[in-house]
Symmetry: C2
Subunit: 367 residues, 2 copies
């Protein structure tokens, strides 16, 4: 299990790589669809495969609460439980504990919180979360970390980084399997703290590195500054995972800035609301202008939705609250994201990624 | 376009037939999944095809309201609109006008009602409903009729039959296409009125006959009495469609009583609530006993759901409100219904349908 850097684009900081996991190869840059609760919302595994999805993301916090450790253990791990035989990354749930759970208390040993579902009390240590991800059998595990929202004082960030670093050390020690484990770099928008965090976390020598605490409320220019700065500070020979990003444009920018992996709920969440991403921009298919529009969602797309159905039909399905509508748009969006990344990889290989992004943006925004 | 009676079971009144429609052959007995609003709820056309579905049902009342005549005309009919290239039956919407619409007034010319969606006023004549089904391009059209709920006085039934007969005559006259048109036999639970209705409707010579007004609140024994009596009174050389039936057991009984076609929302509606139909009975997959049950929904089933997923996983999906759960159970249920009918056809061919039903019931009820 390793990461191999294959090529660096000459027109940007974009990289081409290959990640070898226990369940197969992942070509980077890679978009990793989010299956929080052991399912990519509204879609089947076969549909994900047909779209070209190489790896999916699940969430340890959610799976710990439901179906729980016992069921997942008896199932023989997450791959078997959900019948997905490709690579799986799991988030530690740190972010969810800090955004969803209630009454949480961070102590040195771990974090105490109440479930957002039934109010039950839990105490999670970094060791426990690694242990749970061993049960899951994730190909890439993430350690427990503290993710702060923006804005936050320098002092708070410094205190928080100490905890995240301590938890990273303990997570590494608890590992003891061949599953990959990434280190997470926090530090909010303080570049010198990001630098210090990179040094500390890289000093522990993880299998890859995640850039956390980005796109948590800060303005766009700060997102780019922090991403580019942190990515550049990370070692070349390890995969870089930018957590929770984003829209098609966010993702292209992050690739330009040197990130390799991206997970985001946007294609499925927005898909369930009727928003489709296309090569010529975003469409809200619920809208009246699509009532008699018998073109496919995207003429350039070869997905099941675009091969078979029209905008008018999908608009009708949303208008009548039919589940097939959100299925078809979620499916199209995932396929679009995967295809966008595939096309990006080709552009990187040919050292023309900067121009590719520029051309894409013109078409995408001119709608 | 025609119906050919191929074989009569020697152990019951079950029949084997072949219905030729403009969009392909339909082997009877046939279960016809319901796609009220131009979609089988939560499922894709490809999934329906893979299950072996030969014909689907749509609803003229619903489609008249949304997306409406104009959109369907511009789309080039319902097959193109929903991208289903197999046979489609459409219900006239008579039943929906009498169960969903508000403030309806039945006059000799037609029926006035307010839409259950937005309260808009509509006046529908039998001619208009045939005209709309011509726009839809249905392979089998149904005329406007009046469907009375149980119980209802003999006097009311007699008055109502006059209207239904008049509308049937006018529908036949308005037809003027090669689409098949079925006549609907009403008459509530009054067998002599059913007999009179059969004589009148058959006298008009339709392409097939529907038994309406069954399973509208009357007890089980009356359902069977009326179905068997009415089916027996209908001509042998035409298909018999029992409207809105039913559970697997209802369907097998109706086949024994000589009915050929069945449409029902049960497999998808119950599927969306976690109820699965299997060769050994019904399962409520939301229930706790399935939490750690890693068997497929039905070991005897070869559908996508049973090939890939466990009861425990599906129970988790329902428990976490994930759409994939209701997709998987709806899909399994449709496949089960289709397979049950395929197996029934084999038993009829081999003159052992009575025993087949008896054996099936033992396994099904012993759970």
């Amino acid at each position: 299990m390793s990461f191999k850097l294959l090529h660096k684009d000459k027109s940007s900081k974009a990289r081409l790589g290959l990640l070898n996991t226990a369940h197969g190869k992942v070509h980077t840059p890679c978009f990793v669809p989010v299956g929080t609760q052991a399912t990519i919302k509204a879609l089947s595994n076969d549909e994900m495969k047909e779209c070209g999805t190489e790896m999916i993301m699940a969430n340890a916090y959610h799976l710990y609460l439901r179906p729980g450790e016992k069921v997942l253990k008896k199932a023989g791990g997450l791959h078997k439980f959900m019948a997905w035989d490709g690579p799986i990354m799991t988030d530690s749930g740190g972010y969810q504990i800090f955004s969803l759970a209630v009454l949480r208390k961070v102590r040195k040993e771990g974090v105490e919180f109440k479930s957002h579902i039934d109010g039950s009390k839990h105490f999670m240590t970094p060791e426990h979360i690694i242990g749970f991800q061993k049960i899951l059998g994730s190909d890439i595990m993430m350690p427990l970390d503290e993710c702060l929202h923006y804005p936050v004082s320098r002092n708070n960030v410094e205190e928080s980084l100490k905890i995240t670093f301590d938890w990273a050390k303990r997570s590494k020690k608890a590992r003891a399997t061949k599953q990959m484990l990434f280190g997470i770099v926090q530090g909010s928008t303080y570049l010198d703290l990001r630098k210090r965090a990179v040094e500390e976390i890289v000093g522990l020598d993880f299998d890859g590195y995640a850039i956390g605490g980005v796109a948590v409320g800060e303005p766009q220019d700060l997102i780019h500054e922090v991403t580019e700065y942190t990515a550049s500070a990370l070692p070349q020979n390890k995969a870089r995972y930018l957590m929770g990003v984003g829209t098609p444009l966010d993702m292209l920018d992050a690739i330009s800035e040197g990130a390799d992996l991206f997970d985001c709920v946007v294609p499925t969440r927005n898909g369930r609301n009727g928003q489709a991403f296309t090569w010529s921009g975003e469409l809200q298919l619920r809208n009246a202008p699509f009532k008699e529009d018998f073109a496919p969602v995207d003429k350039k797309c070869a997905c099941y939705t675009c091969r078979n159905h029209t905008r008018a039909y999908i608009r009708h399905l949303f208008n009548t609250d039919e589940i097939l509508g959100l299925r078809l748009v979620s499916l199209h969006n995932i396929c679009f994201y995967v295809k966008l990344i595939e096309t990006s990889r080709k552009a990187i290989k040919e050292d023309r990624f900067k121009k590719f992004v520029k051309d894409f943006k013109v078409r995408y925004r001119n709608r």
